[in-house]
């Protein structure tokens, strides 16, 4: 029943198209505990850009779990753009998505500087880890790859948010995820950048019954709903860590 309502809401949101200020677009069920959206780190460059009224350029670099096949408009990056626009009102927001599937963190890290030069973002959201976990890349190598990537981004003068792996209960006995989660946390701590804990958030949704992530569904609805919720959580995360609410009021 709830699922039906949710998808209905989502559908109306979609039909209405992005310009519609549909506040109810994200399904209301997927709350995230505040502790999972807390970060000690800040996004100074994002805050400065918004404050000075400059356009906010966001670049999402991710793997296949940052998109939904043939439904890119429903994936979380698109949602993030929608909701950032909504929240930031007059500030122009641009977002580009760079999906590099089947690439290890090391391979992606090597491309980051070029991407920054090409797209000139204020904020890079880097989702990584899944492919490395699947391939069983040495966690040490993974860490140094993420570390180098983040360092290069910081050197290029952009804010960075790391997004970790999805919570995927079906494959839990097949992939060893914890080392990759831990290492991403360590890199985030060492560079003092925010980490969007997608894994913990999705696990929370699964445990609290918001979503049944064990589900063997072949349909795309569940993916769309999860991504809508992720987009909403990520929007809140970006706005909170950049303290944009205050910036807006100023």
């Amino acid at each position: 029943m709830r699922a039906a309502i949710l998808s209905l809401i989502l559908l109306t949101g979609l039909l209405a198209g992005p310009p519609a200020r549909a506040e109810e677009t994200p399904p209301p069920a997927c709350d995230v505990p505040a502790s999972l959206l807390n970060s000690d780190s800040t996004l100074a460059k994002v805050a400065a850009a918004v404050k000075s009224g400059k356009p906010l350029n966001v670049l999402v670099v991710g793997s296949r779990s940052s998109t939904i096949a043939s439904q890119e408009a429903s994936a979380y990056p698109a949602r993030l753009l929608e909701m950032l626009k909504e929240k930031l009102g007059p500030v122009p927001v641009n977002l580009s998505v760079e999906i590099q599937s089947g690439k290890t963190a090391e391979e992606v890290a090597a491309t980051l500087v070029k991407l920054v030069e090409a797209k000139n973002p204020t904020l890079v959201i880097w989702q990584t880890g899944t492919y490395d976990a699947i391939r069983g890349i040495d966690p040490d190598d993974f860490r140094s790859a993420v570390d180098e990537g983040v360092a290069a981004l910081q050197k290029a003068g952009v804010d960075v948010v790391l997004v970790n792996l999805q919570y995927s209960p079906r494959t839990e006995t097949m992939t060893s995820v914890p080392p990759y989660l831990d290492n991403m946390r360590v890199v985030a701590q060492q560079h003092d950048i925010p980490l969007f804990d997608r894994f913990a958030i999705m696990r929370h949704w699964n445990d609290s019954g918001d979503f049944d992530l064990f589900s063997a569904t072949h349909g795309v609805e569940l993916a769309k709903r999860v991504h809508a919720c992720l987009g909403r959580a990520l929007t809140k995360f970006v706005i909170d860590t950049a303290h944009l609410d205050q910036a807006q009021q100023n």
């Binding site: 779990s65 096949a69 899944t130 995927s168 494959t171 006995t173 445990d207 063997a216 072949h218």
Partner: protein, 417 residues
Amino acid sequence: MTSIADTINGRPRAESTAVRDVAETTAAPAITLPAVSERELRLDLFRGLALWLIFLDHLPNNIVAWLTIRNYGFSDATEIFIFISGYTAAFVYGRAMLQSGFVIASARILRRVWQIYVAHVFLFTIFLAEISYVATRFENPLYSEEMGIMDFLKQPDVAIIQALILRFRPVNLDVLPLYIVLMLFLPLILWLMKWKTDVTLVLSASLYALTWYFDWYLSAYPNGVWFFNPFAWQLLFVFGAWCALGGARRMSRILSSQVTLWICIAYLAFAFCVAMTWNFPTQLGFLMPKWLENWMYPVNKTDLDVLRFAHFLALAAITVRFLPRDWPPLKSIWLRPLILCGQHSLEIFCLGVFLAFAGHFVLAEVAGGPVMHVVISLAGILIMSGMAWVISWYKRSADKDAKKGAVGNADMAGGSL
């Protein structure tokens, strides 16, 4: 004063075959189970405990796993398991080597290695069944990337051969390959120890240090490395062997000193606090100084981080001190299940891995939730204990028959591990 070493003077009961062989070569009327056989029950107890904890940790996202030691410090059940394995292996086969010589003892060790290898292949088959099932049934677009883990099914010929040569080891199937490699080198270790026990330990520590220095590893398939790096983890195994062959006795003065005690307590308390700030980053994370974080993290499990090794040493030192060998509860019925599991570690380990797979399957197909986690954890422990009881009942009766001469020795057990 209690130390672990001076205590194993009787022969292990459940591993009677191994020791029986020794007895055959020394005293003529073999196969006598001495009435006073005093097995070091503490080793069994803690190996049993390690097996339970490994099972609980292998159940993904298990709420009961909050009871396991890995959440309260650096080391976890794997350290206990490998250390005790080294200890008992050296004890059983070390005697064999002294009494029957290098060749016979090595042959027996190799037979044991073969058993572990077969057990590993058996577990791999179960894993293959599980992953194939998921691959054919489960196609959620949300997880199209994660499903990449099944890609190896497209090349089963390569994957299976890589599994047979231990290069392809799926998650949770990492411990046995490590164990196989360590056991494979046991003849060499024992031979060296027979020559100079302490030098062997020094060599082992040097190998550990060089591994860290030069970043040695064993590569895995399709890429990556062995999750438990044998070059590093051998230190625990050799250290266990060293303790069994008299090292623990020689350490007894250090172990009984007050200074050691307080160092251990302080270190464990420190590890506990660090673990808490890691587990509750938002509530307690602020307590952790940045420089300490930068210096310490990540605590490397693959290469047996020295923090983990030290944590295990501290735990072991405190355990040995406060749990004397004749601790009365060791004989109590309540600890019996743990001890029985520890006495049949290979069988129970395999069963535990299988039960973790099965438990995950139930959680996925039937129902999830904390209650279900508790039920499955308890059921798993009950099944492991029940199985251990059946095995030891079988071994006892088989031994009895053998004693009567009714049946030949069909018991394949090659030793204690």
